[in-house]
Point group: C2
Chain length 577, copies 2
Amino acid sequence: MKWTKSYIYTLKETPADAEIVSHKLMVRGGYIKKVSQGIFTYGPLALRSIRKFENIVREELNKRGCVEILMPMVQPKELWQETNRWSEMGKNLLKFKNRTDQEFCLGATHEEIITDFIRRDIKSYRDLPVVLYQIQTKYRDEIRPRFGLLRGREFLMKDAYSFDRDADGAIQNYKLQYAAYTAIFKRLGVNFVSVKADSGNIGGSMSEEFHILAEAGEDALLVSENGDFAANVEVCPAIDATPHVSSDKELKVLEKFATTGLKSIDDLSKFLKIEAKNLVKTLFYSAAEEGAKDIKPVCVLLRGSDELNSVKLKTLLDLSNPPLMLTDEEVKQVTTAWPGSCGPVGLKIPIYMDNGVEGLKNYVVGANEDGFHLRNVNHDRDFKPTKIADLRTARHGDKSPNGKGLLKSYRGIEVGHIFYLGSKYSKVMNASYLNEKSEATFIEMGCYGIGISRTVQAVIEQCNDKDGIIWPVSIAPFHVHICLLDPQDAETAKYTNSIYEELLSLGVECLLDDREERPGVKFKDADLLGMPLRLNIGKRGVSANEIEMVIRKSKETIKISLKNVVQEVSSWVKSQM
Amino acid sequence: MKWTKSYIYTLKETPADAEIVSHKLMVRGGYIKKVSQGIFTYGPLALRSIRKFENIVREELNKRGCVEILMPMVQPKELWQETNRWSEMGKNLLKFKNRTDQEFCLGATHEEIITDFIRRDIKSYRDLPVVLYQIQTKYRDEIRPRFGLLRGREFLMKDAYSFDRDADGAIQNYKLQYAAYTAIFKRLGVNFVSVKADSGNIGGSMSEEFHILAEAGEDALLVSENGDFAANVEVCPAIDATPHVSSDKELKVLEKFATTGLKSIDDLSKFLKIEAKNLVKTLFYSAAEEGAKDIKPVCVLLRGSDELNSVKLKTLLDLSNPPLMLTDEEVKQVTTAWPGSCGPVGLKIPIYMDNGVEGLKNYVVGANEDGFHLRNVNHDRDFKPTKIADLRTARHGDKSPNGKGLLKSYRGIEVGHIFYLGSKYSKVMNASYLNEKSEATFIEMGCYGIGISRTVQAVIEQCNDKDGIIWPVSIAPFHVHICLLDPQDAETAKYTNSIYEELLSLGVECLLDDREERPGVKFKDADLLGMPLRLNIGKRGVSANEIEMVIRKSKETIKISLKNVVQEVSSWVKSQM
């Protein structure tokens, strides 16, 4: 494609609302343009990358026997009510009424639609297994869209759904999808990792995420030193590298003491000269589902140095979404003190204690009386924990749950997620088949998503330098960026055109910058747009029989004689595929 | 693809809500499945046809220098307010509020979004011309969705937009799109026609529609005998084949007479023994825009045998939408009589007279007194027409406006529509560029749509027989439907598989029916699904060295020896491309 026919407009200024480099580069390169918060138009270059990635996904899924269909974005309330997700999904599900007052939502995911689709067809065990997928536009009404395509409202997604006779089959299909995803992200040519993950409001008992590694990633990941274990921090078991146990031998006498004005663990630690990890903090949450009329207060005990993992608490409490913290007023009602002076002693509500507290003795907690704490507190003696569990957030340096070494932390951008769902959806939507004994049996399901538009930006977030994007060949909008340096010189222009045409005929995709612009402007734009290879063709090079080929990633410049240009370029491109 | 891995489910029963054959066949063939009124899931076969058609469209547009982008489906109110279409579009535009109470709509068309997109980039005449397009999901909140994909709510569309320096350029681009559309529908391999058309609420001064001809088409089309002229009946000038002129020489004396109980033209015609074409009927409309507070009554005079063309009246009155008829009560207020006894004599409102009435003398109209009519009425003497114009609907047998012979009527399904918009959108949205003299100049625009999903069904509506669909090779989901007749016979199965693999390697797309089903079932399904060619491969044929190749359209059966099968089939398929 020639630049002058291509509708490419690069910007010099960095957009004010772009916080991370990939968002900035996509806007500056004219890849995307904001239409509304979290809603974008994809320019021609972005669309080329998106289509290439879609095709990689499609090829790997088709190869594994998956069948492509296309479901609608506008979906009727009735189907979502069957699974109760009409209310459970919360405000991310955008709901509206049509002209005849029927209620619909914009599809944020398609479990209900696909289950309805297949339950009308599948009758016998002979119809199973089957995996269906689509590549389609989705909408989630994110409260705070940001980071461009990484947390957008409207986005492109591949979602696949597997249907099996039994759990064994479903797990086989889950593994097949895992293999497909691994192949897909390998073909992308970026650093990625798969980690154990929480199932969120999709549900199911087994789930893994695929992350493209990048500093700006929203997810914290923990990976064992040998790489055998990897988990999203949301679900990673927390195991102290060295057990943290009190050196006290005996339980001392409980004492109340004044701590006027001391609210935080930090305040207390300084005042008492006790390290935070030897203090115990008390947090209050509601175990009621979001939107419930009444709260169900519970308290959680953690070491002062640890953070609550709200997903672990959600799982412990068997909730659909992470529980909400009580307000200060609610805490006051429950404990008779304001937060900062509260503790477990004397409370009549469930007390969940993180297992990190187990080894402590004679610790300090709030007295449930404003301005007072208790010292020499001991569980079992002074209060009875309802349950002791792993409730804290694991961290870099903790012991790996596979027993091999310590955990290292990474940040990642979630680009894929696979779920084994079991019969969660088929049961409530009555999607069943007759097995070999003619017994009605619920279909076992799995679901598998890849954020298509998100992945394209995540690649940029990983692959860039100070000058711009560095595309991997796999999804580069074009393989080669040809800078025609003297467009008005007829011979140079003619030679450049012939190179361009020859490369195209060999399947090498070229963007030819044929603008009347100075070389400096063209080089800057080429670096910004990020095609893997740049060819500089100017009058001087042509007469000197020496063309410059610049590798975008390494900035290495290779000089090639005219007659070898096509061959050198095409073999470099092919070597990268 | 093998049937047993394909997710194809055909139905025996015809769906209750399908009124036309293409809708019935798409549902029975498992091509589409209803999710809600006017909202469907596309099965794997339909998606293949859709993708093939998309690619034809894409190739023809890319070839002509158009650039593909992708705009969002969720669009902010603010942009639609700039053109006033937030209100003008009426209830077909589905509007809603998001979680933060901002207003959005689902894109029914993208003039606002694209104009906003380009106005941020285009600065100079050097940036023009450019044609951008997308293939994308749209939503129109049809009040009465029917006919499957033909009048659906959610659908796939290709929409293109051209941007030019001036009207000449815009008209050149309009012609280029006309050529592209002609090429696209020719490649489809169906009977189509392009006709002059109304611009509806898209606007602009020049517009043509592309129709696939089919009896069940919603549009009436009129085409001159030599094919040089073609128009949608909505805009076709009405010219009597032989001028219809009264034989009376003199104007007779006006008389009132009783017509108690005679309401319709038919009643009057019988009672007076005067042909309807010699009677004059009076209709009442409001010239106010839809939703206006007050009506603006006007009356329209037509020969008793003619029908009002509401689009012509809309154009005459310069309205955005066809005008609404007055209610009986409103007519009574305006004329002092109920409809059936009304006429132009003595009225104080604008009187628009169809030019077909011009040649009549001494005619009968209502007396504006219940139960009475006037005879020997003459325009100019008894009332003064505000304007005489072409207001009736043209019909089969009228004179062709190009002066060459008579008009023939057809019915068509609108699948494409091209519009020359001028500066309608660029003016109100301030999309301008600096011309060579550095003067700010509004961009000249055109817009061009093709209903992607609609076209696929329209092809079926034209191409079918009592047994099912007859796909043209261009967008057939598969070229060849192979019926393996004795799947349990190892040799037959092996031979069939080798034929299947060989054909695939030659680029011939095959659906292999490998089910354990009787031949009759397979043949019926093959006819229903409609691939252009069927191969019957059974034990008997293989041993007799004679394979049956059945052409779906003609039902012709050709016997081929084993060694020639691959060559015969692939050359037949290629001959149809």
